[in-house]
Structure formats: C-alpha cells, structure tokens
Symmetry: C2
Subunit: 197 residues, 2 copies
DNA sequence: GCGCAATTTTGCAGCGAGTGCAAGAATTGT
DNA sequence: ACAATTCTTGCACTCGCTGCAAAATTGCGC
C-alpha cells in the first residue's frame, strides 16, 4: 500500500501529508494543543494554511494524522481476525491498530502516543465521538453477529462500549491514574466481557 | 429550588436563560442545528448575542439548556438511590435524569427530547464527550465501590460505558433503528450488566 | 424616593477554525 | 512540447467564541 502508485504526484502528496502531521505533533508537544494554530502547523510544514485543510478536515485530525476511516480498510482488519474470536477481542485489536498505526516509523509512533496520552483535547477525536468509525464498525459487527443493525442495538452498543472503554483508559492516564495503558485496557475489556454486575 | 431567591434580578436571569433555551430549541427544530446561528438564537430570545454566552458556554449547551454539571447535585442524585442497588442501575437513573430533567414543564421536555433524538450534532454534547460529567461520576462511583479512582480504572470504565451505551441508543434512533429508546436502553444495560461475551 | 454599589447587558474589536472559489503552478499522458 | 488533469494558494467570508470597557439595571441603606 505504501509502494504502489509511485508517481511524483502521489509521492509528494504523501510527503506533504506526513510533513503536516509531523509539524502538528511537534508543535503540540512543544506548546500544547490549544496554543497551536493551524497557521503555525501549515507554516512549519512549509505549506499554505489552506492546504492543511485539503489534507485534514480539522486540527485534531492533523495532529493525529488521521486517515479518513475507510469502510473497506476496516473490513479488512476485521476479516483478518479469526472468525471464532469473540467480537470484543476483535474490536479491541482494531481499535488498538487505529491507536497506533503499524505503518509508522517507530519514533513517530512513540511521539504520537506521547501526545495522545498527554493532550486531553484529542481523546474525543480519536475514539470517542467518532460517529463515522462507530457506524462502520457497527455495520461490520452486526454482520459478524448475524444481526440487523436496525433491528438490534446490540452491535452498536458493543462498538460504542469498546470505544468508550479505550477512551476511558486514556482518560485514566490523563488524570494521573495508575497502570500502563495495556494493563488498564485489559481490565476494561475483562469487565465488558464478563459484565459489570 | 425554583422558588428560592425571588429577587427581581434572579427571576430575570431565570427568564432570560429559559428564553434562550426555548429560542434555541425552536430554531433548531425549524431549521436544524447547523443552520441556526447563535446570533439568531439570541435575537429570538430578545437579547444580545454576547449575552447568550454569559448564560451558556456554547451553542450546544443553549439548545440542551445544559446546567453546568454540579458535583454536589450529582452526589445528591446518587445518594438518592438505594445503597444496595447495582451501580449500573443507579448510573442509568442519573443519566436518564440528565436526559430529561424533571424540573421542566412537560411540553418543553417533549420538545427537547424530540430535538435530541433528531439532531445528531447534540449526542456528543449531552452524554458522550462530556469529560466533566464523566469525571464527577467516576469520583462518585469509585466512592460507592470503595475503590480509589487513581488505582483502578473500573469506576471510570463503568461510567464511560454507561454513558456510551445511552449515547449509542440515541444514535440508534438517529439511524432509524427499531424500538423505543427505553427498550433499547434496557437491552444495552442488560448487556453491560451481564457482559458481551 | 434617592443615590451608591454591585451586577448584568451590550457593543465592539478581535482571534482562530473552517469553507468556497477562482486563478496560478505543477504533474501527467500523449 | 502541449493539453488535460490535479494540487496549491490566496482571498474573502462565515461562524463560534472571548476580552474588555462603557452603559444600563437592580439591590440596598438611608
């Protein structure tokens, strides 16, 4: 996926996109999300402010380097999981992939992770409140469970809870909570799986 | 609470607040959330645009008539629930109270409900993404469970999942899903209680 | 009532996010 | 090298929201 379409045009676009993402991450890490303007990000990336919005729909997405959730891509992710796996576990894997994309170079990934875990303005944009992602996943989960998403809320509630759980764990970090994200996510999904009762 | 402090000043403030809320609801019901500007809301309420933001922190809050989440108030709500009640059930009751405040006159409440269920821009502002509410509830739930919210994620995950579940049910309505909100919320909380496994 | 203090409203000036549009620059295939 | 396509840029603009200081309103002691 990263080597196909190697025209100059496509390569430049990838470079620009990455430059914007890097610039955004750097600036946010330096001064905090709210103190950084989109103009500054564009300037550091060496591109006009208008161009930033050709690549990302908003500031948050630029910082996250968010790729516009593609249904096919997510379907591929889900299909990659064994059919026998409990749906929650598959969901968790998918969400974690979105959280730290494996196509990144490790250093950038680490920085992204650092920023996500320290900037609370980003949580919502990442997993919570991301209606588009929720809708796509709901559709996919319904399919796998053999349910009609218009008939039963179950798929949607499953997805929403999973996303919320991850976001809660990130929030837990923001508020200085104990444990690594991995540990707390473990705990959270155990709760979802076996019930809060 | 609605009769105390009956000075002219306090009464006028309540009137203005209500006027803004009503204006916002009316306009949004007429034209949709995105098509309504804060200036229009203020104008219909007969106050300056600047005044709107003296009463509400943002457009969404004006439409929702959102009262700034008060820790003490929420504690009172929780304390009103029997101590033996499962925490999820208490949470559900609290969230539902926030969803349709009992201090409203029925007609306004109905309108508010209608708007909430038809305007998807509002879901986030109501329950999801409401970090402040989540933090307060997390604290309270931790207390009731006898846990330290910094030690265990459980309280936070419980709260986040409950909020997410309700938001998911509202979203279910938005997307034309079947069933009343009550039914779907029932189903959702049953899942949370007994687990998704 | 009267006048002073506290509070509220308002206008204004301004910032930052985000968009539509049209002109200009770069890249492509031929 | 030329034309078609695509990307970038600048510009003007809307909208949400904020700070500030002046003006209006209300509360209170007399």
């Amino acid at each position: 996926m990263s080597d196909e379409d190697c025209g100059l045009r496509e390569r430049k676009k990838r470079e620009t996109r990455l430059a914007l993402h890097r610039a955004a991450l750097d600036l946010v890490e330096e001064s905090g999300f709210d103190a950084v303007t989109t103009d500054q990000i564009a300037a550091r990336a060496g591109v006009s402010s208008r161009t930033l919005f050709n690549y990302f729909p908003n500031k948050e997405s630029a910082v996250l380097g968010a790729t516009p959730a593609d249904p096919d891509e997510m379907r591929a992710l889900l299909d990659a999981r064994p059919a026998s796996e409990p749906i929650l576990r598959s969901l968790r894997a998918i969400v974690e992939t979105r959280l730290s994309p494996t196509t990144y170079d490790p250093q950038l990934r680490a920085q992204r992770r650092r920023v996500i875990l320290s900037e609370s303005s980003l949580g919502p944009a990442l997993v919570g409140n991301n209606i588009r992602v929720e809708n796509i996943l709901t559709e996919l989960v319904a399919e796998r469970l053999g349910l009609d998403p218009a008939e039963s809320v179950r798929p949607r509630v499953t997805v929403a809870s999973a996303l919320a759980a991850v976001r809660a764990c990130i929030e837990h970090q923001h508020t200085g909570g104990r444990g690594t994200v991995e540990e707390t996510v473990d705990e959270a999904f155990a709760l979802l799986e076996h019930g809060f009762a």
